[in-house]
Symmetry: C2
Subunit: 152 residues, 2 copies
């Protein structure tokens, strides 16, 4: 009875938006159980991936407003997951580093993410998943620069 109008399901982008939002919501839910939000995961991952960097860089990389990045790092810093210290070379900047606990937390959260992914992708076989990943990656990379700030 709750069938979606065929008009909409014929749009690939509709399916993309829906399934994406579903995955996102599921992960957000599990992160919330650990008092985390999606941005926290993204931020930790960015730090692990690109090393210590200034808040400005971090904000730009994640396309977050600098003021929001400050708040995010307050939260992560308060839990000891990141360390903030003034850049001795330029004391305006704050160098953000992932702590040991930060690495550990990131690993945990990524495990959660993998679990969610396993659920969401369960209808697909392993080779199909790789295929999907490849296709999406190409879309993602072409996603390009209409940079409004945005989602984690």
């Amino acid at each position: 009875m709750t069938s979606t109008p065929p008009t909409l399901t014929s749009l690939t982008t509709y399916l993309l938006a829906k399934t994406g939002r579903n995955a996102r919501a599921r992960l957000a839910e599990r992160l919330a159980a650990r008092e985390f939000r999606l941005w926290h995961l993204s931020t930790l991952a960015a730090l692990a991936g690109s090393g210590p960097q200034s808040q400005r860089e971090l904000a730009q990389r994640l396309a977050v407003h600098p003021s929001d990045m400050a708040k995010l790092l307050d939260e992560l810093g308060g839990r000891g997951l990141v360390a903030r210290e003034r850049d001795p070379a330029d004391r305006r900047r704050v160098l953000v580093t992932l702590t040991e606990d930060g690495h550990a937390a990131l690993a945990e959260l990524m495990t959660e993410a993998a679990a969610v992914q396993d659920t969401v992708l369960s209808p697909l076989t392993a080779p199909e998943r790789t295929l999907l990943h490849g296709l999406l990656l190409r879309l993602y990379n072409a996603d390009d620069p209409g940079k409004r700030n945005g989602q984690p």
Copy 2:
């Protein structure tokens, strides 16, 4: 420290969420230029796809709160895109029908949606698009019933 830093793009679900949200935002933008929102499109499509029906049915089908559906239909009705008349068989219900103008509007909006889709999927070849559509459709159908109300 053998660990390669976990990257977000290695998560298929991350790509899914990102690209989906991108597509969604692009469409929303174009609809906004015509004073429409995504729910309007979904609602019109549902009416076209499943024929005249009560507001309750419509709300359930789209997973919108009934009170919000009332507001949506106010807007669509005010523009002459849907007609609302009491069901003579059960005067509590209101039967919602797509008008001529409603069909026309739906066609226009679907054209917009197709245009957006063409942009978003531009990195893929035609057979790849069909492939992607098939995979997503399977994810979508398995998406299943954890029905919180939600997104258009």
